[in-house]
């Protein structure tokens, strides 16, 4: 029974395609998978927007939206209708074709990332050998769409936002990749299903997730920081910076195209949270051995949602960084720390099992963290502020 | 359905076409950045050849062509970074990226 529930979506798919002739079946299976992903994640997006607004409100001692429907849960419906019926404005001087293509490229690239995420046991659309690489390749493609949006709008705020976004995404892509590489080093595979399988066993009742190792914890921390920057979320939301850049690269977008950008941003959050959960938190595996009867997809989605909650929590707490702080943090702290972590991971891989490697690896990482935090990120005294005026 | 004797031939022709397009771009455009784009296209065409030969060659398990393509991609990234750095540096110096105006070495 538990097995049936675990595989319910696979069984449903198989039942649906058995009506078709055998030649069409593989094709239909893929189409069904795509349709499921294209329906589930935007649905989650709609739910997340209302939960985010309510949660942020609670963090600021407000109520949040509560007008549309019971407790305001139909707010996304109202928002959707609004953005669908709004006039789609293209600036007169904008590059119409590029302006039109930018949101499409973004959403397509983000959706592609979901293809390799294992959403549950056997629930992966394409089990690619180089799944992780595929995911990052798709993530890198979103930068082009952001540039297209910013440049084609012919608006200084848009282009500033786009340049900031691209600079930030390039800077943080390096630590994002390097912190994922540690997992690949230990697992010996780029396939996300294999990475989950490698974590899906238990010592006593506790799982062998990578986050519960010194290098894994450090990687997870750096991955989380880089992922936050990669998805342009607070405290790294400079590209959007409402207070300085209006809305950054999508200033000149309205109506449904704006909604597509919004969707793309949240889908990016879902996919990168899903990747983080897959790499470090055991993907769809249960957190305790006695909970393995719960369907695997429930675990994946609850981990994904927990990560989203942390994103929202950070947004409710932290102020925005300045551009130089952002770049300093990326290149002077996160990148050296992930590089060191690579070495520590190699050490972990080749030291014999036992308490010694725990002590050595933890000591190196903790020491480096404290040291680098003290030296690299120390508050600098810049002296009195000097101004330079335009001639 | 095709007039090609072998799938490899089609890939080689596409690669040759891309190479020629890249070369034409590199030779005819005035903007230094577009010349770089042309060079990148030529490199890519060569990569396509390597991959195609690897795929249809006698010993794909030796990975020679594949490896060459991967190294070539890595080197191309470095080449693009240095090339564009040079272009920016020249732009600072000459305030233009127009190659026809960079004729100070002309006797």
């Amino acid at each position: 029974m538990a097995d049936k529930l675990d595989q319910i979506f696979i069984l449903l798919r198989d039942w649906l395609i058995h009506f078709l002739p055998a030649a069409l079946r593989p094709f239909a299976a893929v189409v069904l998978g795509v349709v499921a992903i294209v329906c589930v994640f935007p649905g989650l997006f709609a739910l997340t927007t209302v939960f985010e607004r309510k949660g942020l409100g609670r963090m600021q001692n407000r109520l949040g939206p509560n007008r549309v429907g019971p407790f305001g849960f139909f707010q996304p419906v109202a928002d959707g209708i609004k953005s669908l019926t709004k006039e789609d404005i293209v600036p007169l001087s904008a590059d119409a074709v590029v302006h039109f293509l930018a949101p499409l490229v973004l959403v397509v690239a983000v959706f592609m990332g979901f293809a390799v995420l294992p959403l549950g046991r056997n629930m992966v659309l394409v089990d690619m050998d180089a799944g992780l690489l595929f995911f990052f390749a798709m993530g890198a493609s979103t930068e082009v769409s952001i540039f297209m949006a910013g440049w084609s709008s012919r608006n200084k705020y848009s282009i500033l936002g786009a340049m900031r976004a691209i600079a930030q995404m390039i800077s943080y892509e390096v630590p994002l990749l390097l912190s994922s590489v540690t997992v690949v080093m230990i697992t010996g595979s780029l396939s996300l299903t294999k990475i989950v399988e490698a974590q899906n066993h238990y010592t006593g009742v506790f799982p062998n997730w990578y986050v519960f190792t010194p290098w894994g914890f450090a990687s997870f921390l750096m991955f989380a920081i880089a992922a936050t920057a990669e998805t342009n979320r607070t405290p790294f939301d400079l590209p959007e910076g409402e207070s300085e850049l209006v809305a950054g690269y999508f200033t000149e977008y309205s109506g449904f195209k704006f909604a597509l950008f919004f969707l793309g941003e949240y889908l990016g959050m879902f996919s990168i949270s899903g990747l983080g959960a897959t790499l470090f938190l055991g993907g769809w595996s249960a957190p305790f051995s006695f909970l393995t009867w719960v369907p695997s997809w429930i675990w994946f989605f609850s981990k994904d949602m927990a990560a989203i909650f942390i994103f929202i929590w950070m947004r409710g707490t932290l102020p925005r960084l300045r551009q130089d702080q952002l770049m300093n943090f990326a290149w002077k702290f996160v990148l050296p720390f992930t590089l060191l972590n690579l070495l520590v991971t190699a050490l972990w891989r080749f030291m014999d099992g036992g308490w010694l490697r725990w002590v050595v690896c933890s000591a190196i990482l903790a020491g480096a963290y404290v040291l680098m935090g003290r030296t690299g990120m120390a508050r600098k005294n810049y002296g009195p502020r000097s101004y330079r005026y335009a001639e | 359905m095709t007039g090609f004797a072998s799938p490899l031939e089609a890939y080689l022709l596409v690669a040759a076409l891309l190479f020629a397009i890249g070369l034409a771009g590199a030779l005819t455009r005035r903007n230094a950045i577009l010349v770089l784009i042309g060079i990148e296209l030529m490199l890519n065409a060569a990569n396509l050849n390597f991959i195609a030969f690897w795929r249809y060659g006698p010993h794909p398990e030796a990975l020679t062509g594949m490896m060459f393509a991967i190294f070539s991609i890595a080197v191309a990234a470095a080449e693009a970074a240095v090339g564009l750095g040079l272009v920016i540096s020249i732009y600072r110096h000459a305030k233009t990226t127009d190659l026809d105006q960079m004729n100070r070495m002309k006797g």
Partner: protein
């Protein structure tokens, strides 16, 4: 040889052509991105997954972005009044056409000698990794050195010369 191959090949060649012919420099950069994506798809159709994804990651994620950055930093996004093609464009075109003719002729001539069909090689990422650190470890190290040198070189070349500007 399938319809998909022709579609992808047409897309790639169209992207390349557009990159060479468009007047606006940013359009050229975006068109060449299309060509890069098409090439990645061609790599995938040749069962070279790793190379295809590396192509997307490096070319679309890094090179294309670098190019547009360079265009914006050099104020190249405006179309110049004096025309986009060099004075010696005709010579360039002739040379390119000649090279294509030679290459095409060579390929056509040797078509009968080319292998007909080959089974898809079963190469996993694991094999590539083993080859990289086994047989190809020296090139790998050299590439690492080259990339480091290129990083430093690019930074030095593009670094603002403070003494001169102030």
């Amino acid at each position: 040889m399938s319809v998909i191959f022709f579609l992808v090949a047409a897309l790639t060649v169209a992207g390349g052509l557009a990159a060479v012919l468009f007047k606006n420099t940013v359009h050229c950069a975006l068109a060449v991105t299309v060509a890069f994506a098409g090439l990645a798809l061609l790599f995938l159709s040749l069962d070279a997954q790793f190379a295809g994804f590396a192509q997307v990651l490096v070319y679309i994620g890094a090179v294309a972005i670098l190019v547009v950055f360079a265009i914006l930093l050099t104020r190249g996004s405006e179309t110049p009044q004096s025309g986009v093609f060099s004075k010696s464009w005709f010579t360039g075109l002739v040379i390119a056409a000649g090279i294509f003719a030679v290459l095409g002729w060579a390929v056509m001539q040797s078509a009968h000698a080319l292998p007909q069909q080959a089974a898809a090689p079963a190469v996993t990422v694991h094999d590539i990794g083993v080859a990289l650190v086994g047989r190809y470890v020296l090139p790998l190290e050299i590439v690492a050195l080259l990339l480091t040198a290129a990083t430093i070189g690019a930074v030095i070349v593009a670094l603002h010369e403070k003494e001169r500007t102030q």
